[in-house]
Symmetry: none
């Protein structure tokens, strides 16, 4: 019996199929190529591939050079061995939101179980500065945990600072999942210090890229990667951004295709909030200060209509961002150990015990012997 | 020889004059009284006073009770001894901006040398929470110093926290001066710990109130006082405000009469910035982060136009900076004399006449006999 996975693997190895041809093309032409996008819009990928490889297309000279040097069949076989799949437009899993991207991706190389197609409606992108402050990281983790708790997936770029805090906050809460969009190959952790984080995302969420496995995260690919982050989700939130931050580039992509953009304010003395403040002044972004306001921004109409901050929706919304992370990490049924919570949240044992005590007093956490679980009010 | 001061003192002691009658009325009726404002709009104050004191006006029963108990003549004599003067509408010193207040002040009790009439164009109100953080106080003092440095007077309420920081910042810079609007009598320092600060304001700026000397700063007078702070200046900036802060009341007054409102953002973890953030989200206030952005918000057109022009298309925007100053100084309704314009703008008579002629040609100014008023295109 041939399973679906067997079939897509077979397609991937066969350049006469849409999937196989697009996989080959993604080795030959850089993402964001306008000419190739137009060709793929008009004709099946195998035909476009043939045209690119033929002598009669001078604009693809570089692609033919690459074709002579890259063993695209070996690359596809390697992806199959690694469990990396290739999505193409028309797949049930293809992210709906990417239809709004100006230069549509040729294909996506994906590793991880998270269902991508619905992120346009149930995903939020959280991005920000690599050189984030503790304030910014706390807020990013708290927002991500709150969104994940409510079933939203958190999409980001796996960079240091805000991106990593957002992924971790979502992992701690666990429900909505989290997705990293990389500028290089999905098997090539970048930054390398985030190897363990990306391994967890491959296991429990998804890691994806327009670049084939093994490819380096070159500078221009980061900017192109940003348009994918912006387009995949219902909206984008920038937590900390200097005036020239790349995350503002992601925000501009989102605004350009009509997706709502939120920014988190901060002290005016922090240059890392200056880009956020400027975006509000320029009218391209809405100021957001908590999960309810993010949901108001990106939420499906009516469904997540936000309460004003004078009347918070749930007791946990009154918690500090740090306590929200701990609260989100508490299991609802079986209790868990303090050690496991320290590991999951990255909060130091003393601070964690203090947070648990506050949560207990607020009626939001319960002791079970030496372990802890969430208490639903 | 009788000096101006002698003459206004004589008027103050004489209830058959506008000044004297209004001074008496301010003892009898609380500020913000709609009925009294309407009467004073229609008739001279001595007539209104007579009507209030007569048996035929049942709505002023409380006023007659007070009239029987308060020695208003002794109060006026005390004010004169203390160097406190009384301003009434029509005085050259009367703050221009107060003409936009819904319930016009009966009179203002003033102590201090600062020229009040031009604050509508060269004053900024800075208000905020009493329970301010060090962050908020630093920002308030910095904005006030920067504005004062550029010749703007800073108006506030002399409360703890943001208000005091704003007054002190302006005093340090020294150029523009600073004005406190009190809820009780100008001779009655409130809070009492601010006695030395208010003494300095009386010496170098001004302290004013709608309430006669000696009167207590009762709760409702704070709210009424806020409308004076909002109306006197070109715009209001809120530095820190909780969701129920009284400074948001000042901001609402300013917005209601069409004055621009700026708010300074802060950490979303600080409840003292929550009111500021909400005001931005509600669209009633502009986010401002530094002196240049405050000037952009309140500045005389052209003169203080900030680095990033928002490019509105109004005809006056095409004027030179100097002509815009003259245009901004032209009254919309009653025409004013060239001398008064020279005084108001600081532009020399010859240059002023040339500017007026250009404005006339551009359809932006009109002659009324020897006087001039603005012409709305």
């Amino acid at each position: 019996m041939i399973t679906d996975a067997d079939q897509t693997d077979a397609e991937l190895l066969d350049p006469s199929t849409e999937r196989g041809a697009r996989a080959v093309l993604s080795h030959l032409v850089e993402a964001g190529d306008h000419t190739l996008s137009a060709l793929l819009e008009a004709d099946p990928a195998p035909e476009v591939l043939a045209r690119v490889l033929s002598d009669s297309s001078p604009e693809f000279g570089a692609a033919r050079l690459r074709a002579a040097r890259v063993d695209t069949r070996a690359s596809a076989a390697y992806a199959i061995r690694q469990g990396i799949s290739v999505l193409v437009p028309g797949d049930a899993q293809w992210p709906e939101g990417l239809t709004d991207v100006a230069e549509a991706p040729i294909c996506l190389w994906v590793d991880g179980p998270l269902e991508l197609s619905r992120l346009r409606w149930s995903g939020v992108s959280i991005v920000g500065s690599r050189a984030a402050t503790a304030y910014g990281r706390d807020i990013a983790a708290g927002l991500a945990a709150g969104l994940s708790e409510r079933g939203y997936a958190v999409v980001s770029g796996a960079a240091f600072g805000i991106d990593a805090a957002a992924h971790r906050g979502a992992l701690v809460a666990g429900r909505g999942g989290t997705v990293a969009v990389l500028a290089g190959g999905v098997d090539r952790p970048y930054p390398s210090a985030h190897g363990p984080l990306l391994a967890e995302l491959r296991e429990r969420g998804a890691v994806l890229s327009e670049s084939p496995p093994g490819w380096a995260p070159q500078r221009h690919r980061f900017l192109l990667r940003n348009r994918i982050i912006a387009a995949m989700t219902a909206g984008t939130v920038v937590v900390e951004a200097g005036l020239r931050s790349g995350s503002l580039n992601t925000a501009r992509h989102a605004a350009t295709i009509g997706r709502p953009v939120g920014v988190v304010p901060g002290p005016v003395t922090s240059m890392l909030s200056a880009g956020c403040h400027q975006a509000v002044r320029d009218g391209v972004a809405m100021l957001v200060t908590d999960v309810a306001e993010v949901l108001d921004l990106v939420g499906r109409m009516g469904q997540d209509a936000a309460a004003r901050p004078s009347a918070p929706a749930a007791p946990q919304d009154l918690l500090s961002a740090a306590d929200q992370v701990v609260w989100a990490a508490l299991p609802i049924r079986a209790a868990t150990s303090v050690d496991a919570l320290v590991f999951a949240t990255g909060v130091a044992p003393g601070a964690l015990m203090a947070a648990l005590t506050r949560l207990e007093l607020a009626g939001l956490a319960a002791r079970v012997g030496a372990d802890w679980r969430r208490r639903v009010p």
